[in-house]
């Protein structure tokens, strides 16, 4: 197979979305196209990953314009795993959406928007050009904004306005940084940048630009002190939207940070990576404390995204092969687990009609399976062995100890304990406590009206993702090896540069 395949994860969602637009009025066709499309994307992504595993980095020069003159699309190990995981989440969300999204939103182009979003995300993961990355960020931003606001409830708008304003601010900073960097280095191609930067004399200016990129991506990744948009918006849309956002959007920011601060900006690690380290510590802490202060299912989960992002940034900041491998492992684990927790929160909401911990209760007594399906990702998130989150945390902490960053180890461990605290808080309030409504087994009216098929579609992705969590936990070796290899590729950027620029 040729290397053309690596553009498919970008083009396919576009084709699916446009196809759906041709059948504007038929929600049924939208559902099928979305589901089948997500399945195809999944297959394609896996093929790409296998190919990258066997042949090394694959790059494609779009329009056959030799790099750095055209735009390069590049799949290395990190990109490959990111698009696979995106496809997994896309597929899970496709199922879950059919089960949970209301007819109003379905009619108003929910599914095409989902595909547009996936297009933007895949584009961001695959591009090898910094301006092109900006374009994919825009695709992501606009489609996520519409998905966030779609339905037009007051809460949604309130969240969406904050979301879009702060993200536009980030885009503006990003764009300015692209301009400045082009002014210094005279190229937009990541590989070319990586090749040229060591020879640029104005190191301070480079550092300043790298900080601008850090801020721009930091907003996207929701690190301290830039995360405000996330807790302000993630609890407002339908839960399927929250779930896919929670899994993927921030991780695009983390991915960009990893890409830029391993491949491109490593000229002043003492400054940039120390900034990242401080931010990582504060991100972990403020996120987890934010979660402790909440009493809404989705708000707790939202703040936990932030705190977990801190662990990933920590891996990047430590900048050892093991630490970066840990960060990558963390991303993989976290996307699966966090999406799933939101899915579960959605089922609980359908069942009991609320996200408010005070109004919920009694779920475990009558729905032990749902309880189990919550416990698996929740305990994994809290880093309880032998689930996936434990290995993620273990590797990052091991890496910190090797570099003798003892303070950060203390913080990371404390945050782990507080994460456990929050997860047990949800467990306690939603699952263990009796239903405060008094009636033994209160079920919301709307749940009774959901058809059996839809219920299966709601549970299927949850079970799927829980199984993946368990597999990663019990069979961590291949995942960890993969993360290791990906980290090595990032730290030694020469293979990346040679592959993209066609140097031998």
């Amino acid at each position: 197979m040729t290397n053309q395949i690596i553009i498919l994860p970008i083009i396919l969602p576009l084709i699916f979305a446009v196809t759906m637009l041709f059948f504007w009025k038929s929600v049924k066709i939208h559902r099928y196209v979305n589901l089948i499309g997500s399945t195809i994307s999944l297959v394609v992504s896996v093929i790409i990953m296998i190919q990258v595993l066997s042949d090394g980095i694959i790059s494609l020069q779009v329009g056959s314009w030799q790099a750095p003159f055209g735009i390069s699309i590049v799949a290395d190990l990190l990109s490959a795993v990111m698009i696979v995981i995106t496809a997994v989440i896309g597929f899970a969300t496709a199922l879950y959406s059919i089960g949970t999204i209301d007819p109003g939103r379905e009619k108003f182009l929910y599914y095409p928007l989902l595909q547009f979003l996936l297009m933007g995300i895949n584009g961001a993961f695959l591009t090898g050009d910094i301006f092109n990355l900006y374009v994919w960020f825009e695709v992501m931003l606009i489609s996520s904004f519409v998905l966030l606001a779609l339905g037009g409830t007051r809460g949604q708008f309130e969240g969406a306005i904050k979301y879009v304003t702060l993200n536009l601010l980030s885009s503006a900073i990003f764009l300015a940084a692209v301009g400045i960097l082009y002014g210094i280095a005279g190229t937009l191609n990541m590989a070319d940048l990586a090749r040229r930067i060591p020879f640029i004399e104005q190191k301070e200016l480079l550092t300043a630009v790298s900080v601008l990129f850090m801020i721009a991506f930091g907003v996207k990744a929701a690190i301290f002190p830039l995360f405000f948009w996330l807790p302000a918006s993630y609890h407002t849309p339908p839960v399927a939207v929250s779930a896919i956002f929670a899994g993927l959007l921030t991780k695009v920011g983390v991915y960009a940070l990893i890409r830029f601060f391993t491949t491109i900006f490593v000229h002043d690690i003492g400054f940039t990576h120390n900034l990242l380290l401080i931010s990582a510590a504060l991100t972990m802490l403020t996120g987890v404390l934010g979660a402790a202060a909440q009493s809404d299912f989705r708000k707790i989960l939202s703040f936990h995204i932030i705190s977990q992002i801190g662990y990933m940034i920590l891996g990047l900041a430590l900048f050892s092969p093991l630490a970066i491998a840990g960060a990558i492992f963390y991303i993989i684990h976290h996307i699966i687990v966090k999406t799933n927790l939101f899915f579960v929160s959605g089922v609980v909401d359908k069942l009991k009609g609320s996200y408010d911990l005070g109004k919920l209760g009694g779920v475990y007594k009558y729905y032990p399976i749902l309880g189990l399906l919550f416990l698996i990702p929740a305990l994994s998130l809290a880093g309880i062995p032998p689930l996936s989150g434990f290995w993620a945390k273990f590797v990052v902490i091991k890496a910190s100890l090797e570099i003798k960053e003892y303070l950060i180890v203390g913080i990371a461990l404390l945050v782990g304990l507080l994460t456990l605290f929050s997860m047990t808080k949800i467990w306690n309030e939603v699952f263990w406590k009796d239903d405060p409504k008094g009636s033994e087994n209160y079920i919301d009216e709307s749940y009774k009206q959901i058809s059996t098929v839809k219920k299966y579609l709601m549970f299927a992705p949850i079970i799927l993702l829980a199984l993946i969590t368990i597999v990663i936990g019990f069979y961590a070796e291949p995942f960890f090896n993969y993360a290791n290899a990906a980290a090595e590729q990032l730290i030694d950027s020469s293979t990346y540069i040679n592959s993209v620029l066609g140097l031998k």
Partner: protein, 766 residues
């Protein structure tokens, strides 16, 4: 051994499927599962007692050095046998005890996983595998303490136990990683010969502290002891099994296991000794005003755990011998007494000692069981508890300087335990019959058979100590102190000082029992209060964390978009400037300035228009000002011969102004909201952002750009892209995929506008 662990988990998982149809026999069925594991291990008894060590390795995550390495030596075999043997009794017992509970099937899942993890933990040689099982026991303990989760107390104390042991677990993990960095391996057995190296490592102190925090939280040592009495919220079989016989001994097991690699230093030995001694005495005194059967037993358990820890701290041959005998004896009698307490609760409806009395006629078998276990617990000949206490006393007496002092507090602690024993093991059965909430009757066979067996075993072990304990003792000692004991166990040591002390203990205990209300009264009059309340520290920490969390979230996530923007801008500019400040000649940079008349005129217009926007008190004027700025920017593009860009700018600016004016009508009347303070703040922020960008741009223009791109695009535009307008060729050919993306953005925006205008759903949470 891996297959036994896997069978254990599998068997636990099938419990819910077979529970309902087999409910009446479930205790018997469930008991076969620990029995099977017990038999599998006891079949290796001779081999281990003969000095063999069985090792098995299965790869798990070899690239991190994490594998299922199982090691069966004297120490682990002793623990496995205790765990599974008491498991048999508890499983059988729970079959009857849990019958009336809702969802008892879930109970068996948890306790099955617990037992398997516990076995896995004590046979793991790999520190991380050990830790995995360790945490699993904490989680199952959490689920079991909170089994009656409709009760708030159960939930609260389940969480407390989880947070205390979980926090300790995290410390332990860090300790293990640090330890593995010294040897380069995660296998505990690889540390065997490295004691010197480890003790001289710079991280040694940290390792000891971290590992001990893990052990002390798990085994409820001072000041972490408070979670254990609270864990009595669990159903009684859980208290008997986890919180007396097995899980709480995990920390002690860990200390014993790590002793050969970490031990020998004053830090290690003294810390363990002192903490153990404090726990021993402190916990025993706390039992004074308790009337609840299980609480009483819990405090005595704590005291014993303290004694065991102290023995490891002493670390002499005799102390290790005492440690083993005492741990076995304790598991037997304390497990039994908990089960007896469960029977009393189950058959009479109360656990309050003051309401129980004279039940011997109604519960004859239980009375016998309780008496046997109590004799062992009080240390009366010929039960195994007697040997235990004798050896403990002799070991303490050997300690230099401290010996007599330690012995005296040990006697006091043990006297209090004697008092507890009388309260739990005798008072309910003897004396006058007191009326109970339920009409008392004997427990079913499932509930008394196991405890009876344990009690009898305690007797047999006392009479024939060498048959049961002696053979494994040497091998177990090797695991801890790398030396054989060569100290035979004897029931009778003759009349000596230690025997006298045993006698004093008993006498003192009985005395305390009879005068306990008076003593309590005097203590109250003297206002002797317990000032050490670590449970309050826990509450304080938890509440403090919550208050701080709320405060910081209120400050950070304050809900005001403008604050968020300020945060982001200030962060961006200050951090980026920090990097830029290092440039020495930043303010002396002289870019190529050749300003034309037109340019300077335009700049003046822009500046004036900007001021108009800021100062004006009419929205319309401000919009006009923004328009002026935009159009003049377009003119700059014209001057620099980019008519395409200029046209685009004009179009966008025109549209913006029109849209703004249209929106204007929808807005409420203009009011100056901002105070002068916030205006000042905004001016500072805005100008620093502007200043920063200006400086950077000036800096860049001073650099000569060496880009191949420009030349390539100009050269290839016509031959490669078939277009004379280079910008257009860049857009539709060289960088066509950018354009594809941007078109998509527009399409999505169009869809979005349509959908957002048309779809107005009801807000569910109005």
């Amino acid at each position: 051994m891996l297959n036994l662990i896997l069978i254990g988990f599998a068997a636990s998982a099938i419990a819910p499927f077979i529970y309902k149809p087999l409910k009446n026999y479930f205790g018997w069925i469930a008991a076969t599962f620990p029995l099977y594991i017990f038999l599998s291990f006891i079949s290796r008894y001779n081999q281990i007692a003969g000095g063999d060590i069985i090792r098995e390795t299965f790869n798990w995550i070899p690239s991190l050095g994490i594998n299922f390495t199982f090691l069966l030596d004297g120490l682990s075999l002793t623990f496995v046998l205790i765990i599974t043997l008491i498991g048999v009794v508890v499983f059988l017992y729970a079959g009857a005890y849990m019958k009336d509970y809702d969802h008892a099937d879930r109970f068996f899942v948890y306790i099955g996983i617990f037992m398997t993890s516990m076995v896995g933990m004590v046979i793991s040689d790999n520190m991380i595998t050990l830790f995995v099982f360790w945490e699993l026991t904490s989680i199952t303990s959490y689920l079991l303490i909170g089994f009656n989760h409709h009760k708030e107390k159960s939930r609260k104390y389940a969480l407390q136990a989880l947070l205390v042991t979980g926090g300790g677990g995290l410390a332990l993990m860090a300790g293990f990683i640090l330890l593995s960095q010294i040897s380069g391996s995660l296998e505990i057995s690889s540390l065997y010969d490295l004691n010197e190296t480890i003790r001289n490592a710079p991280t040694y102190t940290a390792i000891v502290i971290l590992v001990l925090i893990g052990a002390f939280t798990k085994s409820a040592q001072f000041p972490f002891q408070f979670w254990l009495p609270n864990a009595m919220e669990a159903p009684t079989p859980v208290s008997a099994y986890l919180h007396s016989a097995t899980m709480v001994k995990a920390g002690i097991y860990l200390i014993a296991r790590m002793n050969h690699s970490l031990g020998g230093s004053a830090l290690w030995q003294d810390t363990i000794l002192i903490v153990g001694a404090i726990t021993m005495l402190f916990a025993a005194t706390l039992s004074f005003n308790q009337m609840d059967l299980k609480k009483l037993l819990a405090y005595s358990t704590l005291s014993v755990l303290g004694t065991l820890t102290m023995l490891l701290g002493i670390g002499s041959k005799l102390a290790i011998k005492a440690f083993f005998i005492y741990i076995i004896a304790h598991s037997l009698y304390k497990g039994t007494l908990f089960l007896v307490a469960g029977i009393l609760d189950h058959e009479t409806g109360t656990r309050d000692v003051s309401k129980l009395g004279g039940l011997r006629k109604h519960l004859p078998i239980t009375t016998v069981i309780a008496a046997l276990a109590s004799f062992s617990m009080m240390g009366i000949i010929p039960l195994v508890g007697f040997i235990g206490k004798e050896t403990v006393y002799s070991a303490i007496l050997e300690v230099d300087y401290w010996g007599l002092f330690l012995l005296s507090i040990s006697v006091i602690a043990n006297a209090l335990i004697v008092m507890i024993t009388i309260l739990v093991g005798f008072k309910p059965f003897w004396g006058k019959l007191l009326s109970t909430p339920k009409a008392p009757h004997e427990a079913p066979i499932k509930m008394w058979l196991g405890p009876l067996a344990l009690a009898v075993l305690g007797l047999l072990m006392g009479i024939f100590p060498n048959v049961f304990i002696g053979r494994l003792l040497d091998q177990s000692a090797i695991s801890i102190i790398s030396e054989k004991l060569e100290l035979p166990i004897k029931l009778w040591h003759g009349f000596n000082f230690v025997l006298l002390m045993s006698f004093v203990t008993l006498l003192l205990g009985v005395g305390v029992y009879y005068f306990r209300t008076k003593i309590l009264h005097i203590a109250q009059n003297l206002k002797i209060k317990n000032i050490f309340k670590p449970s309050e520290w826990y509450e304080f920490l938890l509440n403090g964390m919550m208050s701080f969390a709320k405060l910081q979230t209120k400050v950070l996530q304050n809900g005001y978009l403008r604050n968020y923007i300020i945060f982001i801008l200030v962060t961006a500019v200050s951090l980026a400037s920090l990097a830029l400040f290092k440039v020495e000649n930043l303010f002396r940079i002289t870019p190529d300035f050749s300003i034309t008349f037109y340019e300077s005129a335009i700049v003046i217009i822009i500046v004036l228009a900007t001021f108009m926007v800021i100062i004006s008190d009419s929205r319309l004027k401000s919009i006009v000002g923004i328009g002026v700025v935009g159009f003049t920017m377009g003119i700059i593009f014209i001057i620099h011969s980019a008519p395409d860009l200029a046209l685009t700018t004009f179009a966008i600016e025109t549209l913006t102004v029109i849209l703004f004016v249209l929106v204007l009508y929808k807005l409420p009347k203009f009011l100056p909201f901002s105070k002068s303070y916030s205006r000042l703040r905004d001016i500072i922020i805005a100008s620093s952002v502007g200043l920063f960008m200006t400086l950077v741009v000036l800096y860049i223009t001073s650099i000569e750009l060496q880009s191949e791109l420009k030349k390539f695009y100009t050269d290839n535009s016509v031959p490669g892209g078939k277009g004379r307008n280079v910008v257009n060729v860049i857009l539709v050919d060289f960088r066509a995929i950018d354009t594809l993306g941007e078109i998509t953005v527009l399409a999505i925006a169009a869809i979005g506008v349509f959908a957002l205008l048309k779809l107005k759903l009801e807000d569910r949470n109005k």
